[in-house]
Amino acid sequence: MGLTSVLARWASKRVHVLIIEVPGWGASRMLLEAELDRRGWAVALSPADADLLAVCGMPGEELRAACDFVWNQLPGPRARVNVTGSGSLSTLLNEASAHLGDDSAQREDARSRSQNTVAEDSAPDAGEHDGMAPEEMDHGSMDHGMDHGEMDMPMPGGIPLAEGGDDRDGLEMDFLTVPFGPVMPHWPAGLVVDCVLQGDVVVSAQARVLEAVSAPTEVSTEEMTYLVEARLRIIRLCDHASQLLALAGWQTAAQNARRLRDDARWSADIAEHVAPLDRLRRRVERSVLLRWSLKGISLGGISVGRPVGGTDALAEAGAATPADQAGVAIRDRLIGWLHEAAALAATSSDTRSPAAGDLDRAREARDLLGALPALLRGTELGTARLLIAGLGLDTAALAPAHERTHD
């Protein structure tokens, strides 16, 4: 037993956490990320990589089903927490860590899981494992969601084979139907994009958003009352920038943006952040490799970049926001975000700036969601991810309680 307990102790220093954000609960996710950074825990990129599943917010029915499904994909030892406020975050994680280190509890969990699987396998026609319904949201092992059309085809492991079709070069290539999201690193909360892929090229896409059961009201709002609109906007801009930089593979810059985001939440004087934000922006502007890597990736004719708060202040500061231009390049979008954040930090001495109404934000989010399928068509997967991140989609602004579908 000596060795297993030593392993457990060492393992607890480096817990990998898979974060699922519910639309509207971005603040909880950011607090969690900051806490993970402080502890030296890692953010998992896929369920197979995770020890701990952290659901930030109160998911609606479909999102909850997706969370349960992902929970089944954690290899174990595993633990699960629901993050809905900041107060108990540290205690929550400590408890989860203790649960992960509890060998007997984990063994019990593993035993009950394997019994479940055996029960399912022995059931007649249990074609698919893990209790998975065909429509359920999958991610990580996305192969399960393939075409369900031809049932007389050979079905290895209960999965029908993909069907072929002409690709963009006129060669025949398999179509693979893959839902992206709602559980993906650096992904807008609750977004699901049902893609048809040929290789790594998106043939067609449909976007929808899985809703929260309720917006954060109790603890988080209390947390946020002193955060005025401009500050919230800065936090959101830094978060967007961080996600985009992470997807571009530039970890140090992404981390830098993330720290600025977290500092903006806690610091007394937001004006202090002007210099660091400008430094980051210059660093991004200077990178030849980033310019080359993002070259030619643009949002097409989609109108983006209307600053939500503090428009006048921004104009005074002479910020060049790429608003309403045709074909905003992703790189300009990124630099525009950082520019806007710095300008907001410089001009707003924590006074409440004129905020765009919820209606405006909802309309913008709806427009972006509607434009998504056309934007993604024919793009390579990596480009598609950058484009989605570049939209800066605010899924929380979409009207709650029912789903929207666009194609």
Binding site: W10, S46, G140, D143, D200, W250
Partner: protein, 311 residues
């Protein structure tokens, strides 16, 4: 001062994996420390991070996806460490080498071509879209880096008029090859980073595809792949020493120690690069690799050949 390289008893081969893994672990520790620094944590916590990772992966259950090609998947996962060990067999540690093959340089090249198969198998075996895309991405990258790498390795061989690693070291007694074939050295280093799926070339395991070929591996399989990646990177750094950096040559320290010191310095640069630069997308890189890098490598070989024939 450099004596001819002698072949030692094959029994010493037992020790080489330990030395390799020790260096790889040091590299992982350095990586952890650098990550900790950017996150604003004490360096020491980062240094120990690899041990924590090893412990948690040893505890984690290995998972199998639906209809996975388990045999090929496991071969891919276990193969990286094996390939790294096979690579370092021809690398002399100071005055000693395990096998001074007369085709040592080609041996190394053969082993790095094995990584094509291994990363592809890891991506293929999981039977999952992300992993498969990760495999595709590695292969498309490999098509770009492999030819320049081959020519970059030919340059020192031409200068030494031999494919034997021992001869290549001996030929650098007066002047290290890195001095008069810098282009080949840079291309070699870039290719090592690429065939280890590391840093800017790690698109196969990219964050945008949920970890790519790593998306579905867990437990000991994941440990083998991650350790294998470090091992392959270490082996690449170690091979730069006899081929470009004068082998064990250097003042004061014994030759075997110089080999290790030089290896670690190259390795440290590789590790430091990891998070500092944006990803190089395989589709973009193909153009550059074929239009700029490959001709540059050929020119380098030409220049070396002219100098060698003229002297």
């Amino acid at each position: 001062m450099t004596e001819p390289i002698v072949q030692v008893s094959p029994a010493w081969a037992v020790l080489t994996p330990f030395l390799l893994m020790l260096l790889a672990l040091t590299a992982a520790g350095l990586n952890g420390a650098l990550v900790a620094r950017t996150a604003g944590r004490p360096l020491r916590s980062g240094l120990a991070a690899p041990l924590g990772e090893v412990a948690r992966l040893l505890r984690q259950r290995r998972q199998v996806t639906v209809a996975a090609d388990v045999v090929l998947w496991r071969i891919g996962a276990a193969g990286l460490v094996v390939v790294a060990i096979l690579k370092i067999l021809v690398i002399p540690l100071g005055p000693w080498t395990l096998a001074d093959l007369d085709v040592g340089v080609v041996w190394f090249n053969t082993m790095d071509v094995m990584t094509w198969a291994l990363f592809w198998l890891i991506g293929w075996g999981a039977n999952s879209a992300y992993a498969l895309v990760g495999g595709y991405r590695f292969l498309s990258l490999a098509v770009s880096y492999e030819l320049p790498l081959m020519f970059a390795l030919i340059a020192p061989a031409v200068a030494a008029r031999s494919l034997q690693v021992g001869d290549v070291v001996a030929a650098q007694q007066d002047l290290w090859f890195v001095i008069w074939m810098p282009v080949a050295f840079v291309i070699f280093c870039g290719s090592v980073i690429a065939f280890s799926s590391w840093g800017p070339f790690a698109t196969g395991a990219g964050r945008d595809i949920a970890g790519g070929f790593l998306a579905d591996v867990s437990g000991v399989d994941r440990l083998l792949i991650l350790a294998g990646r470090y091992a392959v990177l270490t082996a690449g750094a170690a091979f730069a020493v006899p081929v470009f950096l004068g082998g064990g040559g250097g003042p004061l320290l014994p030759e075997w120690l110089w080999t290790i010191v030089k290896t670690f310095l190259v390795l440290a640069v590789f590790v430091a690069i990891r998070h500092r630069v944006p990803t190089i997308r395989p589709d973009r890189f193909a153009e550059v690799a074929w239009i700029i890098v490959l001709p540059a490598a050929l020119l380098q070989v030409l220049v070396v050949a002219i100098i060698v024939v003229g002297s």
